[in-house]
Amino acid sequence: MTIPNEISGSINNIRPMSQSANRLMNIVADPEYDCQDIIDVVAMDAVLTAKLLRMVNSVAFGLRVPIDTVARAVPYLGERMIVGVSLGLCASHLYNKPLTGYESEEGALWTHCLRAAIAAREIARYANDKTILDVTYTGGVMHDIGKSVISIYLEGSPRKIVQGADSGKFTDYIEGERQILGTDHCEVGAAVAAHWRLPASLTAVVRHHHEPGNSPQEHRALAYAVHLGEFVAMMGGTGTGADTLMYRIDENYKDYISISAKELELVVFNTGQEYEKIVSAMFDGQETAF
């Protein structure tokens, strides 16, 4: 597959990520990063700081004394959440528009990515390779970014793809995307990641999150964790739109992630709890999170 010219053109027109987002992404791609580095980046960005403080001071966290610095917000939001929410804020022009090519509502891509990120991080606890733990979260935030680019080219198609997948004409939504566009949200997402010069691990996750077995060996565990995290999000009802649940699971995850049925139920539960808390904090008393 190659990306058609018209779509490549739209990728090149995507604004670069903000400097803060870029630095955060590079910090967390290093498994031995220091939390202080994250705090420093956010604290220097006034807009990000204001938004994060508004979140932590929302009723969802029920704090009696207001938090007024990023450093003091860390214990409540968690450093992963700070990174995830910051990335979402920096790319809100991509995450928050309604995606007609998926019949998705405004903000749905963001909530899907957020829930998948939380789930991927929970899943990663059961990975044989524990070094992937922190990158899984960022990988989850980024994994479906390609949808925001191809959506417009899929306009008018979601029902055809859903019918095709129901009748067995397509094995999944991805195949529908490929039939109609000659590319899919993974390939395009990876091109967006390259356009943003994201670290190789994150580009690999975006590229291979539906076919993690094709990922380069060094990023495969990460790709599987995000692959499963996306399923956990969709099982919890938080998909993007018409494509929700219309994907195939790669059963070979068991070679990288050892999780029992009961443990998965715990993952689903923990993910739901954390997701609901964050979402209510983001939307508390505001028209939109961004």
């Binding site: 998926y102 019949e103 998705s104 979601p158 029902r159 793809i161 859903v162 997948a165 129901d166 499963l228 399923f231 969709m234 099982m235 919890g236 009802g237 938080t238 998909g239 739109g241 018409a242 494509d243 929700t244 649940l245 219309m246 994907y247 195939r248 699971i249 059963e251 995850y253 068991k254 999780i259 029992s260 049925a261 009961k262 998965l264 139920e265 715990l266 689903v268 539960f269 739901g272 709890q273 609901e276």
Partner: protein
């Protein structure tokens, strides 16, 4: 029509004309719908997981979250509205339980949810007369009081009735 929204783990009951209960984006979760044909009272539980041993604390706060605690709580809540299973006339329907086909049978929580719900119902001598479950569908379900009419919708599809 006044719509009462049931979040994950919430259960609701109404017998007021002009009211409906709605559970959105069920995913693998299951909506257990009980309609009392004698009184017109309807109840619904938005179940997320089969088994409360995952979090006994959650089960205490929100029994509706799990199949093994939710159905008892739903039937108890309907008693307040004069519905009693011993008098018969209870019609049960199930919606949701979208399933991920995992050959390792770890991710098939949708199917485990539906199975767990049925096992609890059988203990009460109840069973679903109709169900719209499984598949790769993220259902939203709405039930009308008095008539017990059920509408189902999902993104990318025309709405349908059960």
């Amino acid at each position: 029509m006044k719509t009462i929204l049931l979040g994950v783990g919430d259960l609701g009951v109404t017998n007021k004309p002009g009211e409906e209960l709605q559970a959105q984006s069920l995913g693998a979760g299951v909506a257990v719908i009980v309609a009392d044909s004698r009184t017109g009272c309807i109840g619904m539980d938005h179940i997320a997981l089969p088994d409360s041993t995952v979090s006994l604390r959650r089960a205490e706060e929100k029994p509706g979250y799990f199949a093994d605690t939710g159905i008892a709580a739903l039937l108890e809540a309907m008693k307040v509205f004069g519905s009693n299973i011993s008098e018969g006339g209870m019609i049960v329907k199930l919606v949701g339980g979208a399933n991920v086909m995992d050959p390792n049978s770890t991710f098939n929580i949708g199917r485990r949810n539906v199975q767990a719900v049925k096992e609890v119902l059988w203990k009460y001598g109840l069973g679903p007369v109709a169900e719209d479950v499984g598949g790769r569908v993220n259902r939203t379900v709405t039930v009308e009081s008095i008539t017990g009419k059920i509408r189902i919708s999902a993104p990318g599809r025309e709405a349908w009735e059960l």
